[in-house]
């Protein structure tokens, strides 16, 4: 490309250098096939990824490389909130993003988070001059940048929260933990590690899965394929299909699993099913890759929601686990999470950690500090931690209540005899309604209910007061649209 550009612009090096500006411009014009006035010509090396055309000096000033750049499609999830904001109808309901709302449909800042922030503020203002530090991490903080791997206090508590403080993998230092930009950033780090160290290895993702999973692996250039998961006939888990597809995948594939509260379906394997999944993964030498975005939100218990991850770790398997505090601590916008890689030795964990850091450095240098401090303060303080557990139970409890009310409303209003019990069986923030794209569109266009096109509704955005309205909308869309 470069050499062809050069040959077009200079007939030969010395003659073009000696040409006057006018003459050289004329020369360039002649090389064009079109006869357009050169003041209108534009540079287009960005168009279709190729360079074409020569550029005159005057045109260079006004032209842009970005002419060929098309508008990106709206994000299927985050775009929903934007559409919701634009809607002026009083009845509108936002069931798009999985962001927790109170019964009054207001965003909720956890009390423990407010307390932690105030604590942090007080400590900052009363900071004295300190020249001696007992812990290396305090000094690093003193120097203002977090290390690439993030806040040490955060990394410690997040791994303990996930695996349990007494877990052998933690005691034996077999876990490489790196603070990441919430779930997305942590997943991306792992994807980059897979691309670099397991070139050609595939990631198996559930069908369906969170929309951004595919984007993450695509942009990281990691191939992926799907395993069966959701069964529309039962509105439940297609367990046989899942096992078969995991078995059929090439040995040494990565299997992306939702640790709890599957997004978007809300359908989780039973403990027995988890054991069978672990069996087949071990049999095929696959690597389990857990996405844990809802620890505490599924059942209300932080420990219960970590059971699947812990049972895999107990088998001595090496695994990846991405964590997020967006939902369970309401820290969505702080972008706080972690990537944990469980290895069979402390040495391997140290090496893996160093390589995760090497991938993070050219992405963002080091992660943002604020959310990490909040988590470290809440989880690291026994009083705040207990308060958090209580708030977590309240949030999960509200969602369970809303599920019940929605189910009751649907049963009362729907005379078709359709079985709506899947709403009660599903777990976590989301419910997979079974509505198809056209039906989901009707929900939005007629009923001003904003949801994603895969039929997912976020129960966190639903109040008891709106359950009947939603039931009307679902029944109408389900029965009257195909």
């Amino acid at each position: 490309m470069a050499s062809s550009m050069l040959s077009l612009t200079s007939a030969s090096p010395s003659p073009s250098a000696s040409l006057s500006t006018q003459e050289s411009l004329k020369g360039k014009l002649k090389l064009r096939s079109s006869g357009l006035s050169f003041t209108k010509e534009k540079i287009n090396p960005f168009a279709n990824g190729k360079s074409f055309g020569r550029v005159s000096m005057v045109a260079a000033v006004n032209a842009s490389r970005f002419d060929g750049i098309a508008m990106a499609p709206p994000d299927p999830i985050l775009g929903v909130s934007e559409a919701f904001k634009a809607d002026t109808n009083a009845l509108k309901l936002n069931l798009g993003v999985g962001a927790y709302r109170t019964e009054e449909l207001q965003p909720y800042v956890l009390d423990v988070v407010k307390k932690a922030e105030n604590l942090m503020l007080e400590r900052g203002e009363n900071k004295e001059v300190i020249h001696v530090f007992e812990r290396v991490d305090d000094l690093k903080l003193f120097l203002n940048y977090l290390p690439i791997e993030g806040l040490a206090a955060f990394n410690k508590v997040t791994a303990e929260l996930l695996f349990g403080a007494d877990n052998p993998v933690i005691k034996e230092q077999k876990v490489a933990t790196v603070q990441g930009l919430s779930g997305t950033g942590s997943l991306r780090l792992a994807a980059a590690l897979i691309e670099r160290y397991f070139p050609g290895a595939k990631v198996l993702i559930s069908s369906p899965t969170w929309g951004n999973h595919k984007n993450i692996f695509n942009d990281a250039r990691v191939p992926w394929s799907e395993y069966r998961y959701y069964d529309p006939k039962t509105v439940g888990l297609d367990f046989e299909g899942m096992i078969a597809d995991i078995k059929a995948a090439p040995e040494g594939s990565f299997v992306l699993l939702h640790g709890c509260a599957h997004n978007p379906t809300g359908i989780d394997p039973t403990p027995e099913q988890w054991e069978k999944i672990a069996d087949v993964i071990q049999e095929k030498n696959h690597i389990p890759f857990f996405d844990v975005a809802y620890q505490g939100f599924a059942s209300g218990s932080l420990d219960a929601d970590a059971a699947s991850v812990r049972s895999f770790a107990a088998r001595g398997m090496e695994l990846f686990v991405a964590q997020s505090y967006s939902k369970n601590l309401g820290l969505y916008a702080e972008r706080i999470g972690a990537m944990n890689v469980v290895c069979t030795s402390a040495d391997a964990a140290a090496r893996v950690k160093s390589q995760l850091k090497r991938l993070a450095r050219p992405m963002y240098s080091n992660p943002p500090i604020h959310g990490a401090r909040i988590v470290a303060n809440v989880v690291g303080d026994p009083v705040l931690f207990n308060e958090w557990k209580a708030e977590m139970e309240l949030m999960a409890g509200r969602i369970k209540n809303v599920r019940q009310k929605l189910y009751d409303s649907l049963c009362a209003k729907d005379k078709s005899g359709k079985d709506w019990s899947f709403i009660l069986k599903q777990i976590g923030m989301f419910s997979f309604t079974g509505l198809n794209e056209a039906q989901s569109d009707k929900m939005t266009n007629k009923w001003h209910v904003y949801m994603t096109k895969d039929g997912r509704i976020s129960l966190a955005g639903l109040s008891l007061a709106k359950c009947e309205y939603l039931a009307d909308a679902i029944i109408d869309s389900f029965h009257n649209v195909s």
């Binding site: 490309m1 470069a2 612009t9 540079i43 090396p45 990824g49 190729k50 360079s51 550029v55 000096m57 260079a60 032209a63 842009s64 490389r65 970005f66 750049i69 508008m71 990106a72 994000d75 909130s81 965003p107 800042v109 105030n118 942090m120 001059v129 690093k140 003193f142 120097l143 940048y145 690439i148 930009l181 919430s182 997305t184 950033g185 070139p199 951004n212 984007n215 993450i216 942009d219 090496e318 967006s326 969505y332 916008a333 702080e334 972008r335 069979t344 391997a348 090496r351 893996v352 390589q355 850091k357 450095r361 050219p362 992405m363 963002y364 080091n366 943002p368 500090i369 604020h370 959310g371």
Partner: protein, 385 residues
């Protein structure tokens, strides 16, 4: 290389089946080399000497060696603590923060801002802005490469490498004069293929502290026009070079006057002391509003699978400060104070070196405008004394 890894992986998998429990998937993972910059801090921490000084990381510290939290930042933190919810920012980040940030780079009354011609998103500080641009460049101009000055901030190489774009270098620093190699720079600009992408440090070049003069910037801009090159400015030290953010944006303003369509990475790590918050901005000047909307959507599309949306806290601090005239004035004074102290430190360092009877010339120390001094010069001075 891929084949070797695949074979190794198969061997690992087979031996796992055979029941060697200690065998790990990670045997072929080597320890990464220490980051050359952030690794300095680690070495500093390990050093037991009471006289140690850390001039590794470019983070501002006051005279006691204490990091500075600016008063304006403290005031902003007090206002925002515990009050606001932490709902996801829009994918492009805080609109308010981005608006204020663009004014700093493009000018308070910039026509480009009025005409909505700038595609801009909040980024993960300067690193994130550079990386997002590199990925954007790779996606929409896959056959391009990036010209990087010699020397430059080490992480620039990592960023464009991980974005999978080939790198070329251009002359910048002239060791003999400890100044700018202007002739070499201009030659490289002329010899690069037309329409090349260049990474330029807007002010306070890192690590040399050597910046082109205004006249030199004008010549560089002119030559860029002739060659149709694309200028990407990394501005990590606005306010730190001269003490005046407007003055430090001069190079960018020259390019804008000359009609270039530029890209800019901005960071608040140093000039607002917000290092750990990771707050910055990536902007790309487009032909018109429609194009800016399209480009912005594509930048968001790249950010989504990297981190979804950027962190709110640092952005809130920035928009609180820059959106309030009193706090903004406080900030401007504090930035000037920091820059003055650095200039004072440079003068003192130069004077002390000259007093020590060093036979070398140290005038470049006060000519360079930055908080950073080339480490190799200091190392030499320690031995030559």
């Amino acid at each position: 290389m891929a084949l070797r890894s695949a074979i190794l992986k198969k061997a690992l998998c087979r031996s796992s089946v055979a029941g060697a429990r200690s065998m790990s998937l990670w045997r072929n993972v080597d320890p990464a080399p220490k980051d050359p910059i952030l690794g300095v801090t680690e070495a500093y921490l390990a050093d037991p000497s009471p006289d140690k000084v850390n001039v590794g990381v470019g983070a501002y510290r006051n005279d006691n060696g204490k990091p500075v939290v600016l008063e304006c930042v403290r005031a902003a933190e007090r206002r925002i603590a515990g009050n606001l919810n932490m709902e996801y920012l829009p994918m492009g980040g805080s609109v308010k923060m981005v608006e204020e940030t663009l004014k700093l780079a493009y000018g308070e009354n910039s026509e480009f801002i009025k005409d909505k011609r700038i595609a801009a998103v909040q980024s993960l500080s300067g690193t994130g802005a550079c990386r997002l641009f590199a990925d954007f460049q790779k996606r929409f101009c896959p056959d391009s490469q990036i010209y990087i000055p010699v020397p430059t901030w080490a992480n620039h190489h990592n960023i464009w490498r991980d974005a999978q774009l080939p790198q070329r270098t251009f002359h910048y620093y002239h060791p003999e004069s400890r100044g700018l190699d202007f002739a070499g720079l201009m030659d490289d600009i002329k010899n690069a293929p037309n329409g090349s992408f260049f990474l330029l440090h807007a002010c306070a070049h890192n690590p040399t502290g050597v910046d082109p003069s205004e006249e030199q910037w004008r010549e560089i801009s002119y030559q860029f026009k002739v060659k149709g090159h694309f200028a990407f400015f990394d501005m990590a030290y606005q306010g730190f070079a001269s003490g005046d953010p407007e003055r430090d944006a001069k190079a960018i303003r020259i390019f804008l006057e000359d009609g270039h369509l530029i890209g800019v990475a901005q960071s608040y790590a140093k000039n607002m002391g917000l290092y750990g918050q990771r707050v910055g901005c990536l902007s790309v000047l487009c032909e018109d509003e429609k194009q800016a909307v399209a480009v912005k959507s594509q930048l968001q599309q790249l950010a989504r699978p990297m981190y979804s949306n950027p962190p709110v806290h640092g952005a809130l601090i920035v928009s609180t400060i820059l959106g309030d005239p009193d706090l903004k004035n406080m900030w401007l004074k504090e930035v000037k104070g920091m820059a003055d102290r650095i200039i004072g430190m440079r003068t003192a360092l130069r004077e002390n070196l000259e007093k020590l009877g060093s036979p070398l010339s140290w005038e470049h120390i006060t000519k360079q405008h930055d908080a950073l001094i080339l480490s190799n010069r200091l190392a030499c001075s320690a031995t030559v004394g």
